[in-house]
């Protein structure tokens, strides 16, 4: 069941702002077992030259996945999320995400293809502050595994 290729190149309007909280950063750092003080203490982050606590590099997924859900859960695209596994992920950071940031994301569908019975969806989310300062770009490839082939 191939996905609708007409989605390729589609861009979505900027998402509603996501406000990055200090406690959310701490919770995320705890969940990945990262004890670095810059994720917990404003003073420690400032000693490294940042305004406030900074998020771990992969925290950008919290923002980009919310933005990406516009297409991932679009019923008209028809991606079966229980069959989805992550194929590839890449982040390019202009600067670390910082507590207090109000981030918006612009989602673009870079590619849709079928390979070996799987549907493969590649997206890009450009994350910036509400004021328009670029923060990070998240490139994601999701693979919806096809049903097991009959032998």
């Amino acid at each position: 069941m191939a996905l609708d290729q007409s989605y390729i190149g589609r861009s979505y309007p900027p998402s509603k702002p996501y406000e990055v909280g200090r406690e959310k950063i701490r919770e995320f750092a705890d969940a990945i077992g990262d004890q670095h003080p810059a994720h917990r203490s404003t003073a420690a982050a400032q000693a490294l030259g940042y305004d406030d606590v900074i998020a771990p590099p992969t925290f950008a997924i919290v923002v980009s996945a919310r933005v990406g859900s516009q297409v991932v859960f679009d019923p008209e695209l028809g991606l079966d999320y229980s069959r989805v596994v992550h194929g590839e992920q890449r982040f390019v950071h202009a600067r670390p995400i910082c507590a207090g940031d109000r981030l918006v994301g612009v989602l673009t569908v870079d590619n849709i293809r079928a390979a070996a019975g799987n549907d493969i969806l590649s997206t890009r989310v450009e994350i910036s502050t509400e004021a328009g300062e670029p923060v990070a770009t998240a490139y994601s490839t999701l693979v919806a595994r096809g049903p097991e082939r009959q032998s």
């Binding site: 959310k24 919770e27 995320f28 705890d30 969940a31 990945i32 077992g33 990262d34 670095h36 810059a38 994720h39 000693a47 490294l48 030259g49 940042y50 900074i54 771990p56 590099p57 992969t58 997924i61 919290v62 996945a65 919310r66 999320y81 229980s82 069959r83 989805v84 596994v85 992550h86 194929g87 590839e88 992920q89 890449r90 982040f91 390019v92 950071h93 600067r95 670390p96 490139y139 595994r145 097991e148």
Partner: protein, 142 residues
């Protein structure tokens, strides 16, 4: 901004301290809550097996995050990671038992780049299989 490693002190081939990270079911639930990724294959064995997986698997993003700690712990400043990408080659299966899964991580300086940046090439395996490919981080050093 505040990496503690000096660009002039590293060479291509320099190895970063290796590490191993244990993952249990509780870690997957915790990551689901923290990240907002509640895909059932990361916590429900019945559904995971119904879609053809051997068992519950870890979020790829959790593996990616755990592996990045080898880089951020080394660099001293987690904000010094300017680029980080991976390809997920095998799922990390996390059985519902005391030992869970273990991800073993290796890292080596793959290239010295302009602007006092380096590329760190990473490897990660679990249960004897490579779980990541093309895992690379670009780090801004002092």
């Amino acid at each position: 901004m505040g990496a503690t490693v000096d660009y002039d002190d590293v060479e291509v081939g320099t190895e970063l301290p290796a590490a191993a990270f244990a993952l249990h079911r509780a870690d997957l639930v915790k990551y689901a809550g923290a990240s907002g990724d509640f895909n059932v294959i990361h916590w429900n064995q019945r559904v995971a097996q119904s879609v053809g997986l051997p068992d519950v698997i870890a979020h790829g993003m959790l593996t990616m995050a755990e592996v990045s700690r080898v880089v951020t712990d080394w660099a001293g400043d987690p904000g010094s990671v300017v680029e980080y990408g991976v390809r997920f080659t095998k799922p990390v299966v996390v059985p519902d038992d005391e030992s869970g899964a273990t991800i073993s991580v290796g890292a080596v300086i793959g290239a010295k780049l302009e602007g006092r940046r380096v590329r760190v090439d990473l490897t990660a395996s679990a249960a004897g299989e490579k779980v990541l490919a093309m895992a690379r981080a670009v780090v801004q050093l002092a």
